[in-house]
Amino acid sequence: MNAPLHLWLIPLLPFAGFLLNGILGRRLPKVLTTAIGLLLPLASFGLVLNAARSITGFGSSVPLPAAESFPFSWISVGTLHIDFNLVLDQLSLVMLLIITGVGFLIHVYSVGYMHDDAGYARYFSYLNLFLFFMTTLVLAGNVLLMFVGWEGVGLASYLLIGFWFEKTSAADAGKKAFIANRIGDFGFLIGIFLLLGNFGTLTFSDIAAKLAAMPGWTGGILTAICLCLLVGATGKSAQLPLYVWLPDAMEGPTPVSALIHAATMVTAGVYMISRTHFLFDRSPYALGAVAIVGAATAFFAATMGLMQNDIKRVLAYSTMSQLGYMFLACGVAAYSAAIFHLMTHAFFKALLFLAAGSVIHAMGGEQDMRKMGGLRKKLPVTFWTMTAAVFAISGFFPFAGFFSKDAILYAAFLQGTGGKILWFVGLVTALLTAIYMFRLWYMTFFGETRSHDVHPHEAPLSMLIPLVILGALAVCGGWIGIERISDYLAPVTGPRNAPPVTGHLELWLSILAVAVAAEGWLIADKYYRRKPERPAQLAAALPGTYDLIANKYYVDELYGAIFVKPLLAFSRYILGWVVDTGILGGAAWLLGGTATLGGAVLQRWQSGNLRSYAAWLALGAAALLIAAVAVHSGWALSFQSVSSHFTLKAAGH
C-alpha cells in the first residue's frame, strides 16, 4: 500500500505562508505571524521527512523516482507538452531535506534576530516565498518549471537583500543581485531554447532517455547547451564572472545570508548541473569549463576573503570559494561529491552565518572585525559552535568538511594532468581557507576587546538552539561517508567516478589536505594572535598587491566602466533624449500640434458671416449638381425611358 506523498503540498504550504503573512501579517499579533511563518515550513519539512521515511523503507516503500503532476496542463502546443510535474528522486530528496530542514532552523533563528524589526511580517512572508520557489526548483520535473523556481528565488533574493530598502546601499545591492542573476538567466534561457530545439521536450527523464538512445552523440550542440546552462549557473551560484553580487548581498539580514546565500539559493547552480549531468557527461569541453570556472573562483575568492574586514564579507567570499569547490567536483564528473559537499557546506556555512549574526547582535550591529575581540568568554555558545564550523570548513578530521572536501580533491586528482593541476589549486585554496577562517576566529573571539562601549551578551534562546543543532550537524554531518552518498545518488547522478584503485592514495591525499589545513591554522595563529602587528607590516611591504586584493581586484570598478557606464550613457542620452524626448515627445507634440493647427484653421471658417456661408452653400450645390449629372454616363440624358415609365404610371389612373 503506497501512501501518497503529497509532493504538491511541499511548495504550496510555504506559499500559503507567504500570502497570509504578506497580506494580513501587519494586522496580526506578532505571535500569530510567527506561528504562520514557522509552522508552515515545519509542515513542509514534516512532509519531506514523511517522504524520506516511506522511501528508505521504514514504512511502505515508494519506488523512486516518484512523480506527481497537477491535473491541468501548462503548455500544450503541437507536439510540445509541458506540465507542472513534480518529481521526487534521491537527489531532490537530499536537497529538500537540506532546504526545509536548515530552512526551518533559520526561520526559528529569525524569530529572535528580527524580533524588533518593523518589517517582521514582511520578512517572514518573503522567507516563505523563497521556500516556495526553492522547493519548486528542486522538485521540478522539467526544465521550464525549474526555471520558474530559478527566477523566483532570484526575486526572493532581491526582496530580502533589499529588505531594509530605506538604506541606499541595501537597495542597490538588491538591484545588483537581480541584474547579475538576470544576465545568468539569459544564458539559461538560451540553453532552454537549444534544448527544446534539439530534443523537442523539456522533461528531464525524456531528455535523458533520448540521450541514452544515442550513445555516440557528443560535443557540438551539446557543448553549446551545456555552456549556456553554465552561464546560468555562474549567475546564480556567484562564480566568475557573475559573482559580483554576492559580497554586496550581505546588506541583507544575516539569517537571509545564511539561508539564501549560503545554504540554498546559491547551490541551485550546482543542483542544476547535477540534475542535467547526462548532458554535461557528453561534452568534455563543457565539463572542463565547469571545472576551471570552479577552481578559479575558489582560489580567487579565497584570496579576496583574506583581506576583508567585515565579518559577513569574509563569509561571503568563503561561500563563493566553497561553491567553486562544488563546481570543480561537477567538472570532474564527481556529482555525488559535489552534492555531498553541498550538504556539509549547508550545515557549516549556515552555522557560520548564524553565529556571525549572533556576534553582530551582541555587538549592537557592529560588523567590522577590527572592532571585535575577546568575545570568547562573553559569548560561549556562539564561540563553541562557531569553532565547530571553522574546523569543519577548514577540513579537519573528523568534522563534516573533511569528508566532502576530500572526496572532491581525490576525484580531481584522478583526472589526468589537468586534474592534478586542479587538485593543486584546490589544495592551495584549502590553505587559504584555513588561514582566513582562523583569522576570522582569532580576530573575533580572541585577544583584547577592541571596542569598549558595547556590552556583549549572549543571544536569546531562539537564536541559540539552531546554532547548537547546526553545530552538531557540522561535527557529524560528514560521517555518512562519500561511498554511501554516491551509492544512494547513483540512480540519479551516475556511478561514482573514482574506482578504489589503491586505498592508500586516497589516504595520503587526505593526510596532505589536513596537514595543509593545519599549516593554515598555524599561519593564522602567528599573524593574528601572537603577533598581531605582522599583517600591517606585510601590507606595508607589498603595497601594490595589498591594494589590489583588498579592493577585490577592482572588478566592480571594471564592470562599472565596461558595462554600467556605457549603458547608463546610452539610456540617458540616446534613449532618454533622442528617443523619449525627441521621437516620442516630438510625435506627441506633432499630433497635438496638428490638431491645434487644424482647429485654428478651420475655426476661421465659422465666421458668422452670412454671405460667406451662402457662398459655400452655392459651391456645395454646384458640386452636387455636377456629381449628379456626371453619374449619368456621358452627359447624355435620354428622356424616352424616363417618360415612358411616367406615362405608364399616368395611364394607370
Partner: protein
C-alpha cells in the same frame, strides 16, 4: 408658333441663378430674403413646365405645396427678421454675425 419647352426651362435656370446671385451680393436682410423667394418661384416654373410636358397633374400639385410652404416660411422668416432688428437695430447682413442675440 410653338414655344419649345426648353426655353421655359432656360428661363427657370436664369431666374434661379439670379436668385443665388442676389443671395450672395445683397446687403439688406430683407432683400436677401426676397432673393430666396425668387429662387422658389424659378423652381415653380420648372415644375409647371414638366407638368405640362408629361400631362402630370402632380407637378402642379407640387407647385401648390411649394407656394403654401413658401408663404408660411415668409411669414415666420419675416417675424424673425423683425426680432433681429429689434435686438440689433440693423438690417445689414454683415453686421449680424453672432449667434447670441
Amino acid at each position: 408658333m410653338d414655344v419649345p419647352l426648353s426655353w421655359y426651362l432656360l428661363l427657370s435656370a436664369a431666374l434661379f441663378s439670379l436668385g443665388v446671385i442676389g443671395f450672395l451680393i445683397k446687403r439688406n436682410l430683407i432683400t436677401v430674403f426676397m432673393s430666396i423667394e425668387l429662387m422658389l418661384n424659378a423652381v415653380n416654373l420648372s415644375f409647371v413646365t414638366f407638368a405640362h410636358q408629361w400631362h402630370a397633374v402632380r407637378g402642379q400639385i407640387f407647385v401648390f405645396f411649394v407656394m403654401t410652404v413658401a408663404a408660411a416660411e415668409a411669414a415666420v422668416g419675416l417675424a424673425i427678421i423683425i426680432a433681429i432688428f429689434r435686438a440689433r437695430n440693423t438690417l445689414a447682413v454683415d453686421r449680424i454675425d453672432l449667434m447670441k442675440l
